[in-house]
């Protein structure tokens, strides 16, 4: 208990960690808020700079950016009707109408407090559920990890992309990129096309910076001259009465957020839309009709997307599975720092878990402080023209990819992935499944081969093991149902049911 508390308070008592969490949270709010910048973009660029840092310093900064960034998007969603991040799309449905009615200040204040409530509840669930899940995960067989990873890719594919086929294609392509290089078991070259440079593999950070940084920056060039509508912002601290009134709804939507966030592959964007839908269905008498400035329509997505942060850490720390694109990047950072995300993390390095929990709580406290202050400066910064922002993003992408191993080759790869990402965005392929595929591909390859070896390389026995073990059976059914629910078969069954 004493150790747990000291790990929990590590970031609270160390001035440099405290400072890094504060800087990260403040920077995250701006990164999340400025249209054209995203948390995923910022963390993927930042991660390359923190390789040489102490792991606690790197994690403190990233936790701050993640927490602040998920919240930050709501501010521009309210003030400018431009969601700064995908997780704030639902916030703009009622946030912007509130701002148009002269309530921008109150909407920002309420969204700040609700984000903090959601963030703290998400962290509470992480702290209470993760240790038990990690214990359970020790009993998981390699085939279960394989199935969980497949489930995660299917989930992100079906929810994030226009169709499951597009999601699956993007995820499989990401997995292929993740496998480029020498096979770690047999040293066979895989997808190296005879190139020596590809023998060492493609660094996943290069893929991330290219697809999230460069592709996004070029895409933003299409909306170079979009003029946002400014809103007048006055008093922002909400009354206690207002907060208490929406507390029951915020607890419900926080739980939705944390559950959706904990599903491998889904994050705050999907959580906030689910929560908004829940509020619309469950609240009979909203303050105003939904879509016209209902406080309930603001509370639900804002609690859910921040609760999803804590949720996303659950599969990451207990199973080594990313909950969303940002946790996929954090997994990479942990591995680079010699840590082993998964059930063994709790046993080998329990301080990392409790340090992360303490850090998330601290970041939420900073979120409350920064969220309710500095609104006038904020209003100026978010109106930074894209013509200034886009060249700066490109310079940061170049610095980030070069710093990986001081090689211009990485920069050219980054540009190549940026071009690929740009084309994929044009034709409605999502980047999220690609990145998750890059991270999960090698893991799926490894667990599949372990599972196959454990049954003596017998394909029939492998398939049988998927349905004879209770946990594997549940996961197999989930995978099959998810696949079937996205195929024409579903429509056939529905038509028969109606006949």
């Amino acid at each position: 208990m004493g150790d747990t508390l000291s790990y929990f308070l590590m970031a609270w008592l160390d001035p440099s960690l405290l400072m890094l969490t504060a800087i990260g949270t403040l920077a995250g709010i701006y990164v999340g808020a400025i249209p054209g910048l995203s948390v995923t973009m910022a963390t993927s660029i930042l991660i390359s700079f923190t390789f040489s840092w102490d792991v606690n310093d790197a994690l403190a900064l990233i936790v701050g950016i993640y927490t602040g960034g998920v919240y930050g998007g709501s501010r521009t969603a309210i003030m400018l009707n431009i969601p700064g991040a995908p997780s704030s799309v639902a916030t703009s449905f009622d946030g912007y109408p509130l701002a148009q009615q002269g309530e921008a200040g109150r909407a920002i204040g309420l969204s700040t407090v609700m984000s903090v409530i959601g963030g703290l509840l998400g962290t509470l669930v992480l702290a209470s559920v993760a240790p038990f899940l990690a214990d359970m995960a020790l009993e998981f067989a390699p085939r279960d990890y394989f199935l969980i990873a497949a489930l995660g890719l299917l989930l992100v594919g079906s929810l994030a992309a226009e169709s499951l086929s597009r999601g699956i294609f993007a995820a499989a392509m990401g997995a292929v990129i993740g496998l480029v290089g020498l096979d770690p078991v047999t040293a066979d070259p895989r997808f190296t096309l005879g190139s020596m440079q590809l023998m060492g593999g493609i660094h996943y950070v290069v893929v991330m910076i290219g697809m999230f940084g460069v592709a996004e920056a070029f895409f933003q060039l299409h909306q170079l001259n979009a003029k946002p509508v400014r809103q007048k912002v006055d008093k922002i601290i909400p009354s206690l009465r207002l907060v208490l009134k929406y507390l029951p709804l915020s607890i419900r939507t926080s739980l939705i957020g944390v559950i959706v966030g904990a599903l491998p592959g889904t994050g705050g964007d999907i959580a906030s839309l689910f929560a908004y839908d829940h509020a619309k269905r469950s609240v009979k008498n909203p303050s105003k009709p939904f879509g016209q400035g209902a406080y309930e329509g603001l509370v639900a997505p804002e609690t859910a997307n921040n609760a999803a942060v804590g949720g996303a850490y659950v599969p990451m720390l207990t199973l080594g599975m990313p909950g969303d694109a940002v946790t996929a990047i954090i997994i990479g950072a942990l591995i680079i720092h010699g840590l082993n995300p998964g059930p063994m993390l709790m046993i080998q390095t329990p301080h990392i878990f409790w340090f992360t929990v303490g850090n998330l709580v601290l970041a939420n406290i900073f979120l409350l402080i920064f969220g309710l202050t500095g609104i006038k400066i904020f209003a100026k910064v978010v109106e930074l023209p894209k013509a200034i922002l886009i060249p700066l993003i490109l310079v940061l992408c170049v610095v980030g990819s070069y710093s990986l191993n001081s090689s211009m080759t990485q920069v050219y790869w980054m540009l190549g992935f940026g071009l690929l990402g740009y084309f994929m965005k044009i034709f409605r392929f999502q980047m999220g499944p690609v990145i998750l595929g890059v991270i999960l591909g090698p893991l799926m390859d490894q667990t599949y081969r372990q599972a196959m070896s454990s049954v003596g390389d017998d394909s029939g026995a492998f398939l049988l093991s998927l349905v004879t073990n209770p946990l594997s059976l549940v996961l197999t059914i989930a995978v099959v149902l998810l696949l079937l629910s996205n195929t024409p078969l579903k429509r056939v069954f529905r038509r028969r049911g109606q006949a």
């Binding site: 294609f169 292929v176 200034i388 390859d445 196959m452």
Partner: protein, 156 residues
Amino acid sequence: MSNHPPLKAGERAFNALLLLLSVGVLYEAYQIAGFDLPNSAGAFPILLGVIMIGSMIAILWGQRHHPKPDTRGVLDEARQFIHEHFPLTIVVFSAMAIAYLLLLRPLGFIIATALFLFVSQVYLRRGRFLAALIITAVATGVIYALFKLLFQVYLP
């Protein structure tokens, strides 16, 4: 009248390229270890190649009822694709970005970055020389101080 949204100019060509890429992935995967053992180094890559081909065929099959783009012939479609997705701003900015990468080594990070930031801002904002000059000086200084001195990373 179809309820499906029309395909974008160049979409069929891009999907065909992705299908070709998927076939290439399957071929490369087979080259790793053939159909040797179910847990060989090539087994999972072969599965990925099959999945890529299968999902791409599903995408193409799902688009069979979508109206074709409103263009006359392949050349017209290519022209519309370039017009929509590669307007002059993107082409010029891309050229500046490539020039920036090529000049990084000969000119060094500070000069190349300052030049790129200044020229690209002047182009994208249609002038505003003084503002571009000030922003370039501040941004280059901050980036250098932050990454070279604080983060201690190697700069190009």
